[in-house]
């Protein structure tokens, strides 16, 4: 916990910078608003203001800087505005007993979480099976590994609509499964790479040791490779779940527009409500933080019980 203090200080610095940045980012909006309300600003027309730098505008119109901190549609909202919006759409909704209403970020977070978890399960399963195959069969290693890397260079966003259409054709209803597939597509790779490393972690002498016991391949796998790979597995699971969340949100951006945090971001963009975007972003960040922390905890407990030194 010796990091607590530095982290707090850095966070404080980030918040301060954020606050400072709000002024120049929002000055144009604030001046437009003031002008419409009848105030005199310099220069007078929006078109003329286009030609002037924000710093100039701030110097010429010091009275209107403050207004930039309370715009309805700010280019950059203040942390407090974001916090309020987040509060309103989560706890605020929950307090009114509408936690699962469609206007609540808790509901959308839940939708995203579900798809993420399914994608994570699927991706982890594929990653682990792939790793086992790669470690056990050289053909797999030689043919699969390069393609695993190439697969990650394919822009998954482009495939998203097609995945939906194809899965609809196969008879899969709804968006949950296509989203999970996209999420799994991003998630499997770190798991695969980590597990290949992990399953290959046993040293030659450990493998030889089992040979002197005349152990079967299965025994070698269960008693040596699997336990030796666990620390690697957990590390890559943490990367994997973060990737799964990215996948879900990417999957929700172009294909969703229905529910989920990605859809909220999209809709927020569509209706020009930046606060909604920011709130959804923060909610996604919190979700990612919680998921990774949970896995981290699981890792600590498991490895401790297994006797790995901390």
């Amino acid at each position: 916990m010796r990091n607590t203090w530095p982290v707090l200080v850095v966070l404080g610095a980030i918040a301060a910078l954020w606050y400072l940045a709000v002024a120049p980012m929002n000055i144009r909006g604030a001046l437009d608003q003031a002008e419409r309300a009848g105030a005199v600003v310099a220069p007078e027309t929006p078109k003329a203001r286009q030609e002037v730098s924000v710093w100039r505008l701030m110097i010429d119109n010091p009275d209107h800087i403050a207004a930039g901190y309370s715009l309805d549609r700010p280019r950059l909202p203040t942390p407090v505005q974001v916090g309020e919006e987040l509060w309103k759409s989560t706890v605020g909704m929950a307090l009114r007993g509408r936690a699962m209403s469609k206007r609540s970020l808790i509901y959308h977070g839940w939708v995203t979480l579900q798809a993420t978890l399914w994608g994570f399960l699927l991706g982890t399963a594929v990653g682990i099976l792939g790793a086992v195959a790669i470690v056990h069969w050289r053909v797999m290693d030689m043919s699969l590994m390069p393609w695993a890397i190439i697969s990650q260079t394919v822009p998954i966003v482009a495939l998203a609509p097609m995945i939906i259409v194809v899965s609809a054709q196969i008879g899969i209803e709804g968006r949950a499964i296509p989203k999970a597939i996209i999420s799994a597509y991003l998630c499997y790779f770190p798991v695969l790479v980590g597990m290949v490393k992990g399953l290959r972690a046993p040293t030659v002498s450990q493998i030889d040791l089992l040979k002197t016991y005349n152990a079967s391949a299965l025994q070698g796998f269960l008693k040596l490779r699997v336990p030796a790979s666990l620390p690697y597995l957990f590390t890559s699971l943490k990367v994997g779940i973060a990737a799964a969340l990215v996948g879900t949100i990417v999957g929700e951006l172009p294909t969703g527009a229905i529910s989920g945090l990605g859809a909220r971001i999209l809709i927020g963009d569509q209706f020009g409500t930046p606060l909604a975007i920011w709130a959804a972003l923060v909610a996604a960040a919190i979700l990612a933080g919680v998921l990774v922390t949970l896995l981290d905890l699981l890792q600590k407990i498991t490895l401790k019980r297994m006797g790995f030194r901390q």
């Binding site: 280019r75 259409v165 609809a168 172009p254 909220r264 999209l266 809709i267 020009g272």
Partner: protein
């Protein structure tokens, strides 16, 4: 009977008729079990119907005809929207007062099938879209909001009378600062939200019968919505899964939509169709469609449904 309807866009009053029909039990009365699938920025209804994900789709005619030319035989079976709601909204202070003034400006345009009317309009005006010049405009693929206009990244943006235009107004802009060009007024309007199905399905009498009932119920929904715009807007709001739509906005949208649907009983007016085709064929160097489409519409359904 189950029917899956793929919308062109997200749940909003633009599709009020269908939601009303579902909510008020009009579909049920016809013995239909209708699932309404909202669309989104990257959902191509044509692709969905090609993949068997929907029985009937809401689409704009330019996109449908383009798909038809690409080998996906879509047929218009009903046209609830009589008029086009598309327009170009510009800042007055940019000096634009008539379409010819657009040259040498930056314009935001929607793509994804919605660009066709724009392109043919420009080619009619003789304005190229390759970039800013004496005789050309710079085209941006506009996102889904009106920020490009508000932040003056574009001088004009595409808006719908029922949606984006009001977002601009809601942002505090006075209508006096704006100048709008309705496609309808310049004779370049193409048919918007119509109902389309796959041609091959129309050979199946059972499917035709299903569509007849569907169109009948849907039009009933539309007419109800026209008469009760506020309630219709609330129904739409209840069906919005994103939870992002606001009551005020939807009510106003419903009012505007009603203007577009009024005057249509669902039957496609062949004259409108001819005009759309003509506009599209005139798409300049890169026309949307290259030849007169055949069999792209039918009155078979509406004739039965509206009798």
């Amino acid at each position: 009977d189950p029917v899956k309807l793929q919308l062109k866009w997200v749940t909003q009053a633009q599709f009020a008729g269908y939601y009303v029909a579902a909510d008020k039990g009009f579909y049920e009365e016809e013995g239909l079990d209708v699932t309404i699938l909202p669309g989104g920025p990257d959902i191509a209804p044509e692709q969905v119907i090609a993949g068997g994900g929907a029985d009937v789709i809401v689409d704009w005619m330019p996109a449908a005809l383009a798909a038809r030319e690409r080998g996906l035989a879509l047929v218009n079976i009903a046209q609830p929207f009589k008029r086009s709601g598309m327009m170009l909204t510009c800042w007055k202070d940019t000096g634009i007062s008539k379409p010819e003034d657009l040259a040498n400006h930056t314009l935001g345009v929607w793509f994804f099938g919605n660009e066709y009317p724009f392109l043919s309009w420009m080619s009619q005006l003789g304005i190229s879209t390759d970039g800013k010049s004496e005789n050309g405009v710079e085209v941006l693929k506009q996102g889904f909001n009106v920020d490009p206009l508000l932040q003056r990244q574009a001088d004009c943006i595409s808006t719908m009378t029922y949606n984006e235009y009001w977002q601009v107004i809601d942002a505090g802009v006075s209508p006096d600062d704006l100048i709008t060009f309705k496609y309808e007024d310049y004779g370049v309007a193409t048919l918007e939200d119509g109902l389309y199905v796959l041609e091959e399905n129309l050979e199946d009498p059972a499917f035709v019968d299903k569509m007849v009932r569907f169109v009948r119920a849907s039009m009933k929904g539309w007419k109800w919505a026209e008469e009760n715009p506020d309630e219709a807007a609330m129904i739409v709001l209840d069906n919005d899964q994103t939870g992002a739509q606001t009551e005020k906005h939807q009510k106003r949208m419903m009012g505007e939509i009603a203007k577009l649907t009024s005057g249509s009983d669902g039957t496609l007016d062949p004259a409108d169709y001819e005009r759309t085709v003509r506009i599209l064929l005139a798409g300049g160097s890169d026309p949307v469609i290259t030849k007169e489409p055949q069999g792209a519409w039918t009155h078979a359904i509406t004739d039965k449904a509206l009798k």
